[in-house]
Subunit: 153 residues, 2 copies
DNA sequence: CTCCTTGCAAAAACTTTGCATTCCC
DNA sequence: GGGAATGCAAAGTTTTTGCAAGGAG
């Protein structure tokens, strides 16, 4: 299970982000980043904006888009595309790399990590002359609960 | 390497698609499907439309969108999302399942397949109680040519 | 003070949809 | 002839952008 990072870690990440990119610390940026790393999930910009607005209704979506784009460029967040037409972001620091198991019935997302698979991905890429910088692996199917529900029906 | 399917196979697929879904055979549908299976790549609707229009300029984008959506629903094509904001489609019949190596610099897409990785994916899923029905694996990085280009710069 | 950021609304990019017309069967 | 399919343009979605105003350093 994923555990949100600590407040201290979060602050360190945000500070690093700001200084590395030479960005100014603003009320909305701090709020957005704080909220994002606190949520620590797979959130669309719209959802993130919703949370942020609860704390400060004056923040515009455009700023959330701009901030998340910068975050992703710094490698501190990963953009994801799960097939609905929305980009989701998830924190990429202070946690292991991981992939996803997605239940196609209830939408549950389980994270997992497997070093042997990653090693084999590297090997495959090398064989094709590629130097891999990142990857995405998603397994779609039914979670335990949904298997039961479907079998019962 | 991917090899486009034969004309006979293509016709059989299209016919099956039409009858299973109870669809009418129209000039534009046949043209779109024919072109799609002949291209046999990872094409956006826009690109596919471009090809189709070369053969018949009267076909509208809407029809291409509608047709590809039907095809994907029948399972004869897979919708893909490689991070640029476009849905791509690729034929899903008459070929092995495969995954993708994507060059982030030039956009080259290489297909590969690896049974051992697939087996391990199954194992991981089982461990989490999932029954996997499909998956997606994409490795992003630099192809050989782009590695050279970047190193030279 | 200077330049980066922001909000707003307009625009862009991609996809879907309503409706009148056309076309299969 | 009747219902399905199409074209067109309008509308929807998601994301980006121009520009004037605001704010950080």
């Amino acid at each position: 299970m994923t555990v949100a990072i600590t407040t201290t870690e979060r602050e360190a990440i945000i500070e690093r982000f700001m200084s590395e990119k030479g960005l100014k610390s603003t009320r909305q940026r701090n709020l957005i980043l704080d909220t994002f790393f606190q949520l620590d999930g797979h959130f669309s910009v719209e959802q993130l904006w919703g949370k942020v607005r609860e704390l400060d209704p004056r923040v515009s979506v455009a700023t959330v888009y701009r901030t998340m784009k910068l975050l992703a460029e710094s490698g501190l967040a990963h953009a994801q595309n799960f097939g609905d037409g929305q980009t989701r972001y998830e924190p990429a620091v202070g946690r292991e790399h991981h992939d996803h198991l997605i239940c196609t019935r209830c939408g549950t997302i389980v994270e997992f990590e497997n070093d042997r698979i990653e090693a084999m991905q590297e090997a495959v890429a090398r064989k094709h002359g590629f130097r891999v910088t990142s990857h995405k692996m998603e397994l779609y199917g039914l979670c335990r609960a949904c298997q039961k529900a479907v079998d019962a029906a």
